[in-house]
């Protein structure tokens, strides 16, 4: 088993990863109220250097997703099939994540709630559907 992939933790994004360890999902904002992820030293909209971290409510919705049926890394061999989902936080920023449900139950705009999980020393922001999925679409391949 290869080691779980690690993020490259920098001065810039350390608050994001530390925040998850403390149970908080942080995004960034500037005095003009632009909001974004991942963490940067300058606002990508107005280029202000006055950036700060703000805690997300943890509410989000599904934008899109893919399902891996093969693993590109040994750490994911035992997890296939698994989804990688693009979600939008209630506050606006979008991020990649995993949604913790049967991938066949995923739907556009499905409401989600943050669930922080441990991967060894690392804390990762994953999401779970707010309601039990109503139906499961069988994929015919």
């Amino acid at each position: 088993m290869q080691e779980f992939p690690q993020p490259e933790i920098t001065e810039t994004n350390k608050p994001f990863w530390d925040g998850l360890k403390q149970g908080r999902l942080l995004f960034q904002t500037c005095p003009n109220n632009h909001r974004w992820l991942p963490a940067r030293d300058f606002c990508p909209h107005c280029l202000s250097e006055k950036v700060s971290f703000v805690e997300s409510s943890g509410r989000a919705k599904v934008i899109s997703w893919v399902v891996y049926r093969t693993a590109f890394h040994d750490a994911f061999k035992d997890r296939i099939p698994y989804n990688v989902s693009l979600v939008q936080l209630e506050e606006g920023p979008r991020m990649m994540t995993n949604v913790l449900c049967d991938s066949n139950a995923l739907e556009a705009d499905m409401p989600l709630q943050l669930e922080i999980q441990s991967e060894g020393e690392l804390a990762i922001a994953r999401f779970r559907p707010v309601e039990e999925p109503k139906h499961i679409t069988k994929v015919t391949t």
């Binding site: 934008i63 893919v66 891996y68 049926r69 990688v84 991020m95």
Partner: protein, 380 residues
């Protein structure tokens, strides 16, 4: 006449060259590039001494420091301008545009634009690499990004696998008739739908080939081509570019890109509209990329691709033949210069599957996960 339209037809592709496609073990990218460039110079009928610019797209799977200079050394060139350039598969169109601008500015006269790579017999790790810190979610590979975009297109517009299959089937039909193509197997609708889904919703047959090979074109002004006695120059009527740039999570939308801007520039320069185009070579690294390009360019109403393309519209006997040598899905998975070369052949009337009386050919290039885009319109 503005600066853009003043360039219409002023520059030409004077020569084209390429290597064999497929698996070429033991060949370095410098060797493949040298062969492609030599063939392009032979095709143009000019001596290498006429070349004073060498622009090369960085080999995707085998990046190298000062690569442009290594290639110039191998070809015994001391160009005024040269170097390697990285913006993924849209680099070919970008480098042709740089060549035109540099010639226009009097900085050089004749430019070689080339690309080679050997991921099939070498290392293809670049295509399965972790995508930054998002690897913690299992986010790996180039294909996954296109799968994510395809899913969103299916959600927003009801795009069906069968619709994407129309692209794969057109490319595979044309490739099956191309003796140089790496994959010469036509594809039925049933075979397409039965193709394995390793990264849902992508099917294997939505996915381009991995190929060794090289390709090159010679760029100069139409005037210079006349003075050098170039026998078959093909005029560049329009060229444009656009860069979406952001990673998927930082985009407001997954289903529109700067391909629209790129096409607008190229059509404006050429003074043409989609209805004036006779044949297209559309970058088909994944079928969704080609579908969205045809939408962005205005060939097809957005979200209505399936109905628009039905009945073989994109096939050689249809209204808008696409990827007449097989594209990335069938001829070679090389990132895009081969599409430009096929466009030149169509305008010369020398293509393997020639579109009769074709007088305009549009070519699209794109790179990354639709991060960059380039459009080229050729005439005759």
């Amino acid at each position: 006449m503005n600066n853009l339209t003043r360039m219409r037809g002023k520059y030409v592709i004077a020569g084209i060259g390429h290597t064999a496609f497929g698996k070429l073990p033991g060949r370095s990218t410098v060797s493949l590039n040298t062969e492609a460039c030599r063939n392009a110079l032979l095709d143009a009928g000019i001596n290498k001494d006429a070349v004073n610019a060498l622009f090369v797209k960085v080999p995707t799977s085998a990046r190298d420091f000062m690569y442009g200079q290594k290639l110039a050394e191998a070809m015994g060139l001391r160009p005024k301008l040269g170097g390697s350039w990285d913006q993924g598969g849209a680099a070919n169109v970008a480098l042709i545009s740089h060549a035109m601008s540099s010639i226009e500015a009097g900085q050089c006269d004749v430019a070689l634009v080339c690309y080679a790579d050997n991921p099939r017999s070498g290392n293809r790790q670049v295509y399965s690499r972790p995508r930054g810190d998002d690897a913690v979610y299992g986010w790996f590979s180039t294909a996954a990004g296109y799968a994510m975009i395809q899913r969103r297109h299916m959600l927003e517009y009801g795009t069906r696998p069968e619709d994407l299959g129309l692209i794969a089937r057109a490319c595979r039909r044309h490739g099956s008739e191309n003796p140089r193509a790496q994959l010469r197997a036509a594809l039925t609708a049933e075979q397409y739908l039965a193709s394995p889904m390793t990264l849902e919703p992508l099917r294997r047959d939505d996915t381009c080939l991995v190929s060794d090979g090289g390709a090159a074109v010679v760029i100069m002004s139409a005037d210079h081509a006349r003075s050098l006695g170039v026998s078959n120059p093909v005029p560049i009527l329009g060229i444009g570019q656009g860069q979406t740039s952001a990673e998927l999570a930082a985009r407001d939308t997954l289903t529109s890109t700067e391909a629209e801007v790129s096409a607008r520039t190229a059509f404006a320069m050429a003074g043409l509209a989609p209805k004036d185009i006779d044949v297209v070579q559309i970058y088909d690294c994944f079928t969704i990329a080609a579908l969205m390009t045809l939408e962005a360019y205005g060939f097809c109403p957005k979200g209505q691709f399936g109905a628009w393309a039905a009945g073989g519209r994109l096939e050689i006997d249809g209204d808008l033949p696409m990827n007449t040598s097989g594209g990335l899905l069938s001829e070679t998975g090389m990132p895009g210069l081969q599409l430009i070369i096929e466009g030149v052949r169509q305008m010369r009337g020398t293509a393997n599957l020639q579109v009769s009386k074709a007088s305009t050919c549009l070519i699209s290039n794109q790179g990354g996960t639709m991060h960059t885009h380039g459009t080229l319109i050729l005439g005759n």
